[in-house]
Symmetry: C2
Subunit: 282 residues, 2 copies
């Protein structure tokens, strides 16, 4: 039996390793290094520039929480802009809502989408839904030029140390604000509080969002294959409060099947430990 | 520079590794293999039979949550039994409450206590508090023979696959029930839902507690150095509900300093994801 391990650097002195059965595919695109693997315990998984993006075993956690928290805050969301998210998991969750009319998805690297359709159909299965429009371009440019108005923007990006860098700038957030409706919500991948390398990026992202949006906070998920397992998502909006505006009965009446998200965890996820509140100056 | 790594097996195909500066100490006692390490990122940390128990970097999370959740549920707790917990972190948190009169701590392996006093004074600093009585014996035997009545029992044990095995039996839980007051609470280390090896033990522990206690549930913490980072603690009691009986103002009036625990997270920690509810048949 091949003794093959994928190892990710989680912090200066921490490593996380998964035993791999097959290295399915490898490609260097103009944007990043893409690799797909198969493992017995995690199923298929893929990495960008050596960082795990999605594993079949735990992708439901991230995709539930980046999607259903905003959808459970404003049940009238009809037009959604998704930035990044090439694996398709976020779009898959959004298509569960019949009342969503339009999903524009902007992914810089078309190869991610095409390869996920081949190796990760579990997440990429709804990218050809008729409400979905795929744009293969830079999200930063897209929001700068957009004349559209959205109810929700989901920024499902890589880390700011990679091709995702532009999606963590004040300029980007300002343009998001501009193209959001008066009831608009932005949710984004927001790094992590535990390891120094992610913590500094988390703090910067939060400060920028707080400077632009009247409401800006973060919520947490248990994501075992992301560094420390304690991962953050950002919630920013023009008027909706994620706790006060969540109506459990209303969301439950939609009968949407989820493996992680529910009304209790919608609220519980915003209960931050003291050390995170301190870091964020909250 | 020495390229030395401590590596822990988190599941069949998952490994977690910390870069080590010095292997401070190693000893095989009649009960287990004990090792202390020093690392730049985690400070000192120690392992039992190759599993991380405590690191200076994240011990505050576990010790806050195993202690302040029951203390924040019943503010009248005066007599506490702690089983395991040789590192002293749980006792350190308990001694912050002036109204606690007595803490009996039962640790099977005296060497753990003595070595933690040497290498981990950050957790072991209150073991000689005058309210603390140390018993170096098997917790299973202690509760069987005890004539004492406690308001709170904290089972801060290793995993059931090791010397901690007896502390996961129905017989043990029954004796805990017997020596708890009518307002008694039991909190225990409760494994994890994500990896199969821990999941089966979590389910068994919960079923047993549910058979004995009128109220039995679990709550979750973000513990980066435990497998998956998604760790569980069990809460069982004769009449106190951890949510309904938590009074934020009352707890806050005690002015106890915590780095993880607060009233929001007291409640938020009990908000379980659907897949965990399913596993536990809740």
């Amino acid at each position: 039996m091949t003794n093959l391990w994928f190892t990710e650097k989680w912090s200066k002195d921490t490593r996380f390793s998964i035993k791999v059965k097959t290295h399915l595919y490898s490609e260097k695109t103009p944007f990043q290094q893409i690799d797909f693997f198969n493992s017995e315990e995690y199923g298929n998984f893929f990495t960008l520039d050596g960082f795990i993006m999605v594993t079949e075993k735990d992708e439901f956690i991230y995709h539930d929480m980046i999607t259903h928290v905003p959808m459970g805050t404003n049940p009238k969301i009809k037009k959604v802009l998704v930035i990044g998210a090439g694996d398709g998991g976020t779009v898959r969750e959004l298509t569960k809502y019949d009342h969503i009319e339009k999903i524009d998805m902007v992914e810089i690297d078309e190869r991610v989408v095409l390869l996920c359709e081949k190796y990760l159909p579990i997440t990429a299965c709804k990218l050809r839904d008729k409400r979905v429009n795929l744009y293969f371009q830079d999200g930063l440019e897209f929001v700068k030029d957009s004349k559209e108005i959205y109810d929700l923007i989901i920024v499902d990006s890589t880390d700011p140390i990679s091709v995702g860098e532009g999606l963590f700038t004040e300029n980007f957030y300002k343009n998001c604000f501009r193209i959001l409706s008066e009831e608009g919500i932005l949710v984004n991948q927001h790094e992590s509080p535990f390891y120094e390398n992610f913590k500094v990026e988390m703090v910067k992202a939060h400060q920028k969002l707080k400077n632009i949006f009247p409401i800006a906070t973060v919520y947490q998920i248990h994501q075992p294959t992301y560094a420390s397992g304690h991962w953050m998502l950002g919630f920013a909006s023009k008027k909706y409060d994620p706790i006060l505006n969540h109506n459990p009965e209303q969301w439950e009446s939609l009968n949407i099947k989820t493996k992680y998200y529910n009304s209790n965890i919608h609220k519980g996820a915003f209960a931050l430990p003291n050390y995170v509140l301190d870091i964020l100056n909250k």
